[in-house]
Symmetry: C2
Subunit: 413 residues, 2 copies
Amino acid sequence: MDRRTAERLDLDDPLAGLRAEFDIAGDRPVYMDGNSLGRPSRATVEAVHRAAADWAGRLVGGWQEWIDLPSVVGDRLGRLVGAGPGQVLVCDSTTVNLYKLAAAALDARPGRDVIVGAATDFPTDRYVLEGLAAATGRRLVLLDAPDDDPAALEDRLAATVGDQTALVSLSHVHYRSGARLDGRSVTELVQGRGALMLWDLAHSAGSVPVDLDGWGADLAVGCSYKYLNGGPGAPGWLYVRRGLHGRLRQPIWGWFGRADQFAMGEGYVPAAGIGSHLTGTPPVIGLRAVDAGLELLERAGVAALWAKSQRLTALLAEMVEEDLVPLGARLASPSDPDRRGAHLTVGHTGAWTWCRALVDGDLVIPDFRAPDRIRLGPAPLYTRFTDCFDAVRMMAEVLAAGPAPAGGPARVT
Amino acid sequence: MDRRTAERLDLDDPLAGLRAEFDIAGDRPVYMDGNSLGRPSRATVEAVHRAAADWAGRLVGGWQEWIDLPSVVGDRLGRLVGAGPGQVLVCDSTTVNLYKLAAAALDARPGRDVIVGAATDFPTDRYVLEGLAAATGRRLVLLDAPDDDPAALEDRLAATVGDQTALVSLSHVHYRSGARLDGRSVTELVQGRGALMLWDLAHSAGSVPVDLDGWGADLAVGCSYKYLNGGPGAPGWLYVRRGLHGRLRQPIWGWFGRADQFAMGEGYVPAAGIGSHLTGTPPVIGLRAVDAGLELLERAGVAALWAKSQRLTALLAEMVEEDLVPLGARLASPSDPDRRGAHLTVGHTGAWTWCRALVDGDLVIPDFRAPDRIRLGPAPLYTRFTDCFDAVRMMAEVLAAGPAPAGGPARVT
């Protein structure tokens, strides 16, 4: 790989023009963390400003429109993940949504006493399932497979899910390795054994093809601050398949989930449709930011985003092998591009000090992932091929220049 | 009451200057709904703009600071409600916080099978308790007393709470009538019978004196979009008394509530202190807006806010009796000022059409509350005595001018 090739890929990139929608100050540091906290587009910043002005101008009257934002923005998000209208809400946090849907699923499978997750899955996913297992007297089985071997995880799953399994919850794209599961076949397997399937799409939505309706998926959650560029702590989202509406009861009975909410009547009666999965008052400014982020992704189109993501990660993978492996690093993601999402991870015993040197030197902003990984998330909306090229070259220079001793934990998300 | 008196009250108002911190376009309509959705100060709008710029500029590195916002802003909010540091978090929605704390309280009182609430309490409070009663096999007792008679409610409570009561959850200031319970004596009563007391302070924080530590309160929740001026759907908050830290386990086990979060380790271990009541990623832009709102309330001081609130509601109550009662309306709030919060409610069979005429005529923006009430919430930071005077005069003119037939429900919050 040489820089000319990367430059040529930028010239041929049909999405190259979208970088101008973002206010990016200079070429350094190279931001390789769009899958942890995406950048705001100019339109998103304007949407936040407009939302504040809207609040000031319309005051309480604004609720006539705002009240529908969780489902209006949800439907828009749904189009990015293959969900027809009326099945997605933008609300609460990913963690709270995961809790609500997992609890609802367990409630719908009363005779089954096993919950299945993955031992290497994102912490909140494991912890929420652990809490629900403790609360409902169920057993949590965490599938044990290397995080960069999705086929091994699928094999474990097939050997584990049985007629006592109530719920399986897995990340479609692994937060650390980027390993990608087969959404359709996993869904079929789990449903074939009578369990409900809950997908965490935090690292999928906005970068990787997802076809929830096509997969026949039951439930899904995700965040909006990564590839969706909704901002730090932007609201999460959830999907409940239409066929399950009215058949699942989530545990947090709030006024926004009640039928005929403003009658403020006696007793909780769940709203029809997806609405019963709302809880409290939705965050209007956050929803406006998410909406603006979605608009830009819609303009790009998932197919084009995915095509570019594959080329970006292919370039990164090639350079990791060429430039970093000889220096003692390793590709800690699947080598098969068909089993990867839109980010890559590099392993090295000195990952923490290496990462600090890259950040402190204003060279590259990647993401450290405990205990020994550097994660590279080249968001396809605004990352150039030359950015990826330069990032790996600087990573190699830093690694070659000095020792990278093993080090302590970080406070990056 | 005459307008000159109201003008004199404005001249003597030590908080009058704070109105200039808000961008208020003209004198009409009079905004009497600050207890439903508070106005943004200029500083709050600027804080929202700065938060967006901060995201764009610092990207993922911003988390080094943002991660502490729930507790930093929580401590600041705590000073408004008599809570020492380390006991308040700004996070999730009021509904989700109510769920978390109520569930934690029930978990801590396993042998007791009764939950006590109030039949006229805000819907989300009743529904959340109902859901938890159903989930844990407990009985929910909703105290039945007129919403404008707090002494009657307290009597019912004393007659009801017993050694089978696990949890009592009540609003300190009633959302509709403005009736105010005695925080200290209710807390003592409930604790004296071995139950835990959970306060909903949505209509108290930022207007009415609250002394959580002084009351010896166990648990409290509130929102930040009313008197705290945090914006539509701004994050909620929660309080857990220090003596209960480490002894209550909330049900949503997310990564933000785990000890040593970024080690992303195996198994859920609750964080020490108040931190275990966090769940998912906190909403940074929303937290910045709340923080700016709190700064202005701090400048005013709770004592001054409360003193002005009492004078504003006294003026309103006097004018309701003089101008509206002769037209068939009634004061639907306690007549004793010592049993009221910072808002008042007027009852009339034609409240809905009356309210629409006031709003549609750009005269007054009050709040309709089903089935037959108009609620007036004169936020003390930016509401003038002449605003209150003019509002009631216009209400009287509209009511006198034409019939106000009974009508259907609204979609206002």
